[in-house]
């Protein structure tokens, strides 16, 4: 569904992503892992045309450079780790923005399919009761669920997640990842996710790309990619040992 070939991104003299290639197929949840500054979030920005890049990114076989923003948004939904809303919009108004790409133009007030999708998204994320609440009054977890509902209402085929649970407590982390897992279980969908928490990556991912310094260190299934050797090379430590030590405290 999504394919990147030799993608590179430069900020001035610095190469942030260096000749990265990967492919994402239907039903897959690809985890982009690696230390800070590895270029994971920049890669997401390149896919959404947020930064200039060299190489080629294809969505359903079509070069994304040739897509208008609205065409891209009909296929790709993005959930960022943080959101800032300037004014007191209601949760429902924020969720409805997800329908922008499907009901564009001055006279396009009606979007019957969209109404049903907005209702469904609010229900899926448990935000129906808060639909008239101002987003300025929501907790971090509620705000993230509101934006997840917006992405669900957008009805994309590919979901890009940039550390979606970074600032959330454990309960919300589990909730958000479970919701995305349920969304992915429908046919014709795929997820690409930037993660720092390797336990979450192992629990939910089907495939992984391990990055370091903008380059791909390993890619494949979770078992093939997140090996002790690869992780030690990227993080400079015994990741498995550290995890076991942490989890051992709960034994």
């Amino acid at each position: 569904m999504l394919k990147a070939e030799q993608v590179s991104v430069r900020y001035g003299e610095r190469t942030v992503v260096d000749g990265l290639s990967f492919s994402l197929g239907e039903g897959q949840w690809l985890m982009l892992a690696g230390p800070n500054g590895a270029g994971k979030s920049t890669l997401i920005r390149a896919i959404t045309q947020g930064v200039p890049y060299t190489g080629r990114i294809e969505l359903m076989g079509r070069d994304v450079r040739a897509c208008r923003p609205a065409q891209l948004a009909q296929q790709i939904g993005v959930l960022a780790q943080q959101h800032s809303v300037s004014y007191a919009y209601t949760v429902e108004e924020i969720v409805r923005l997800g329908r922008y790409a499907h009901a564009q133009g001055f006279l396009s007030g009606r979007d019957p399919e969209g109404d049903a999708l907005v209702e469904q998204a609010l229900e899926m994320t448990g935000m129906t009761a808060l639909r008239h609440a101002s987003v300025l009054t929501l907790s971090g977890g509620e705000l993230q669920r509101a934006f997840l509902a917006q992405v669900f209402a957008q009805n994309p085929r590919v979901l890009l997640l940039d550390e979606p649970a970074n600032h959330l407590d454990l309960g919300y982390q589990k909730h958000i990842f479970s919701l995305i897992g349920r969304w992915l279980s429908q046919p014709g969908r795929a997820v690409l996710s930037v993660v720092h928490d390797l336990s979450l990556a192992r629990r939910y991912g089907t495939h992984a790309v391990l990055m370091d310094g903008g380059r791909c260190v390993a890619r494949g299934t979770m078992e093939e990619t997140l090996t002790p050797e690869n992780l030690a090379r990227v993080y400079g430590m015994d990741v498995g040992g550290w995890m076991r030590e942490l989890l051992g405290q709960w034994a």
Binding site: T48, Q71, A73, V78, A80, S86, L97, Y100, A101, Q150
Partner: protein
């Protein structure tokens, strides 16, 4: 429970139009010569139906002095408020208004230059000022965008605001320099920079109406994009908004409107800042409701300010810009405190 619509309800729209009509009637009736509302309506109706004017009524004052001024005030108020609401949404900054871009200062510089150098267009009393104000408004926008683009290819909002503020300060300095050497024109230039719509006629109204019709329609057509911009430029792009195109289109539309307003009425501050805040408190932040509400409320606000300017120290007429700044500053502080208190609760 049904959600609020993306459009202003017919009831709210009718109420605002009714209040606007009432404010316009009041402004025509009140002045150095008081005219009753009934007589005013009769004269307006006769003029509209091209019938002979009723006797004993100062039709000349109503039709040739007060009506054009009231129409101009309403159009400038509507335009400035619409620009303010659009810029606050586009730049995601509640302190933004039409002047944040620096275009207002650019237009003022052009107009001051025209006044100081006696630039005129044959056959018009105000053509030179208007022409130079509009040219300078457009050149200012181009310069600001070019500098912002050189700094940051994505035309980031912060770059535009920063360069706009710097450009405004530069334009103000040049204006001060021109005023210092303006000699006998000092008084007229100073009064113009404080803002005034006295002496404006239907010729001004035609230009204002045309600009508001075209640029206002462009702004109103981008209500959904402005809503999307409120969640941030990246998130707006993610839902499908062509952020760069929307920014450029809206900034050009706002600049043209500001240029025309400044060329007609001088610098009239606070309207574009305060009125959208007031409107937002009543109709909410959704631009589908906010933009038309701001337009109508802006017209009403400026009409009442003009009434105060004409009548408070009669027979001396105050500059409308002085009144809007005084009223606007107090209103803004009250709104600001109320909003902050509400946010803490």
């Amino acid at each position: 429970m049904k959600s609020k619509s993306d459009r202003l309800s017919p009831g709210a729209l009718a109420l605002l139009v009714l209040v606007l009509a009432g404010a316009m009637l009041l402004c025509i009736c009140v002045g150095s010569v008081s005219i009753s509302p009934a007589d005013t309506l009769r004269v307006l109706l006769c003029a509209l139906l091209r019938r002979p004017m009723p006797e004993g009524v100062s039709a000349n004052i109503i039709l040739n002095v007060r009506l054009p001024r009231v129409v101009n005030v309403a159009l400038v108020g509507a335009a400035l408020s619409l620009c303010g609401a659009a810029m606050q949404g586009l730049l995601r900054n509640p302190l933004a208004d039409g002047s944040t871009l620096g275009v207002s200062s650019g237009a003022s510089l052009g107009a001051v230059l025209a006044l100081a150098l006696d630039v005129t267009l044959p056959g018009t009393a105000f053509g030179g000022t208007m022409l130079l104000a509009m040219i300078f408004a457009f050149l200012s926008l181009m310069l600001i965008l070019a500098l912002a683009y050189a700094l940051d290819r994505s035309l980031a909002t912060n770059s535009i605001i920063l360069i706009g503020v710097i450009f405004s300060m530069f334009a103000s300095s040049v204006m001060s320099l021109i005023i210092s050497f303006s000699g006998d024109k000092l008084r007229s230039i100073t009064f113009w920079t404080m803002g005034s719509l006295s002496g404006t006629g239907f010729a001004h109204a035609r230009v204002l109406a045309a600009a508001l019709l075209v640029c206002g329609a462009v702004v109103l057509a981008h209500a959904r994009e402005l809503n999307a911009m409120a969640i941030g430029e990246d998130d707006a792009r993610h839902v499908g908004v062509n952020v760069r195109r929307v920014k450029l289109t809206l900034m050009i539309a706002v600049s043209v409107l500001i240029g025309v307003c400044v060329s007609v009425g001088g610098t009239i501050g606070f309207v574009g800042l305060v009125v959208p805040h007031m409107a937002r408190m009543i109709v909410g932040p959704n631009h589908g409701r906010l933009l038309p509400a701001s337009m109508l409320a802006g017209a009403i606000f400026l009409l009442l300010c003009d009434l105060i300017a004409r009548t408070l120290l009669r027979p001396i007429e105050l500059s409308i810009g002085v009144v809007t700044s005084l009223v606007g500053a107090v209103a803004f502080v009250l709104i600001f405190y109320r909003t902050r208190r509400a946010a803490r609760c």
